[in-house]
Amino acid sequence: MLAASLTLAASLVAGCGRGEEDSSSQDPGVTKDSITIGGIYPFSGPASAYGDIATGAKAYFDMVNDKGGVDGRKIEFKTVDDGYEPPKAVQASRKLVEQDKVFALFNTLGTPSNLAIWDYTNQEKVPQVYVATGASEFGADIKKHPYTTGWQPNYVTEAKIYADYLEKEKPNAKVGILYQNDGFGKDLSGGFEDALKGSDVKVVAKESYEVTDPSVASQVKKLSTSGADTFLNVTTPKFSAQAIAAVAKSDWKPLHILNNVGASKTNVLAPVGLENAKGIVSTAYFKDPEDPEWENDAAMKEYKAQLKKSDPKANPNEPFNVYGWAAAATMTEALKGMKEPTRDALMKSVRNMDTKIPILLPGVDVKTSGETDGYPLEAMQIQQFDGKNWQLQGEVQEASAEK
């Protein structure tokens, strides 16, 4: 009976399919005086700390809009929460694309969330640009995913820079690695091991942890007894702090290399105690808001003033805010570079850039070249913590993720 009524109902409505979307040649989300772009961030759930990135990005777009927008178009930045859950990211992307009719997705956050939506965005030919993850997938396969691109120096690039550093500074280093057991941790630690092939630097121990673990103390303890004299710390901020504290408490005095994700002075080093972080080596690609070196830097002053204006509650020393600011600056340049206001023109602009972004370190430039190089940023600079501040070391180094 149920089946019969189903068939009946189906035949009643059959044929009255949904009205087609408006068929003008204009791409959605762009009008004479506005461009709507959408972002997906974890404003709730365990990864909520990353939500600050949206704050920094919004501040930059506010500034652009105050100055009249891009070619007279104001940038409207819509954000949706996905709680760092891939199924929610999928729905958020559909909402932004199908309901809010955004022109492009910008800076959607997280490796799993972006992997979840990139087939969809490319099928719909919606730009998914400057994703907020350093996973090397985003840029490795431009042919298959022409509408997706990364932004920050990817984890493999970062790993190569650490490997180079060790080969020069400590050619016989015995390395113990602590890494987060997910795409990020495996990309970076795997990239590091690949980069070491043929050198005398050896990885002698590897310990993983889960984001759901309470603590990494026991992993650090095992590394400390492994005979390693160098510690590669591939962790997210909370665990970075725990690991630094665990090393400080032990008798282990390795050369400590801390990945960029965990290198915030405010969030990580200060809670552990700055004196415990002395000597730690890391990398940077944008200017550190806490570094006195940039106190009078025009870009830094502009950032701090505008952030205060856009969101008085926001902490300017929070590196995620700078990150969002810099990504938004890059996005604005890409929008400016469009020959016409279409999605394809945006991708063309994104794929062919050579631009300086003032808040990035001097020498770290946005460079892409068509389909051969899909990674906008591929340079970082080694920095070392002197007990008070990060000190930049040597020159900016480039390292390509391409194998």
Binding site: S44, P46, S48, A49, G51, N181, E207, S208, Y209, E210, T212, D213, P214, S215, A217, S218, Q219, K221, K222, T225, P237, K238, A241, Q242, A245, K249, T266, N267, V268, A270, P271, V272, G273, N315, E318
Partner: protein, 293 residues
């Protein structure tokens, strides 16, 4: 051998932290007959209060005591305002209510304090003591001592005080307790207050080790569930011993059994629980007649 002992001692210290929160879970279960999923978040919230008091310049000892008092009041208020209207209803309705409370507190705390790491002062200070050739941190010794003291106080409370006895009566049979002239409502309120106090203590002991952020109790809660289950869900002493066993086993497995790996470490305590429950279905110290939830 020294390494082995060190690993065990380390495990006991970690296990004490699980045990401390498990104790809070057990207290709620004993009084209200439900598992309180929000227990960890309540502890997180009160730990933030303690942090705020210390930041405001209160001496650390005083801040801790004030927080314990605040926690008791908050716990009692939660029972009175949020739990009471549905008390005596379907157990699962109450459990889902605490789940809602979990989400609410976690998100509200993030809104107030943000999501970043904070250092939390350590009540016991730094340094090590030498016990029989094994070097143990003062903090570990302090944690174990505080926890044992709490169990002792709770034991006296349940066995010797009128309120404590009333609490046991209410948990066993609310209806006849009421007939016997016990104010069930007030007793439950006190039960929640004491549980929140134990949770606050747990939070303040744990925060110096894990750093304080709004999610720091989430992972601990899982291990505390395991500890309470292993010990028997209605036994405070069981919760503590359960915590120790889990802490030690987890540490030993992580150190000596490589093939398990860090990723599946959590399964080790669970397998032990499974084995124990097969022999004793209500945990090591649980009373068999309790068959709620």
């Amino acid at each position: 051998m020294a390494e082995f002992i060190e690993t065990v001692v380390d495990g006991i210290a970690t296990g004490s932290l699980y045990g401390a929160l498990a104790l809070a879970l057990v207290l709620i279960f004993r009084t209200t007959g439900i598992v309180n999923f929000a227990q960890g978040e309540m502890a997180m919230f009160t730990t933030f209060l303690a942090w705020g008091l210390v930041e405001a310049g209160l001496p650390i000892g005083l801040a801790f005591l004030a927080t314990l008092g605040l926690a008791f009041v908050i716990g009692a208020l939660i029972e009175r305002v949020i739990i009471r209207p549905v008390e005596g209803g379907e157990t699962l309705t109450l459990v889902i209510l605490t789940l809602g409370l979990f989400i609410f507190i976690n998100s509200a705390a993030g809104w107030v304090w943000g999501f970043n790491n904070r250092a939390f002062p350590n009540l016991f200070g730094e340094g090590n003591v030498d016990i029989g050739g094994v070097s143990i941190s003062v903090e570990s010794v302090g944690i174990v001592a505080v926890l044992l003291a709490l169990v002792g106080v709770l034991f006296l409370f349940f066995q010797r005080t009128k309120v404590g006895l009333a609490m046991r009566a209410v948990s066993m049979n609310p209806e006849s307790s009421r007939l016997a002239g016990i104010s069930v409502g007030r007793t439950l309120m006190i039960g929640w207050g004491v549980a929140a106090l134990a949770g606050a203590l747990a939070g303040m002991l744990i925060a110096p080790r894990l750093f304080l952020d709004v999610n720091f109790m989430g992972a601990v809660l899982i291990y505390s569930f395991a500890a309470a289950t292993l010990g028997g869900f209605d036994s405070p002493l069981g919760a503590v011993i359960g915590g120790w066993i889990i802490g030690v086993v987890e540490n030993l497995a992580g150190t000596y059994v490589d093939w398990i790996g860090n990723d599946l470490k959590i399964l080790v305590p669970l397998l032990i629980i499974l084995a124990v429950l097969m022999v004793r279905p209500t945990g090591l110290f649980g009373s068999p007649e309790v068959s709620r939830a």
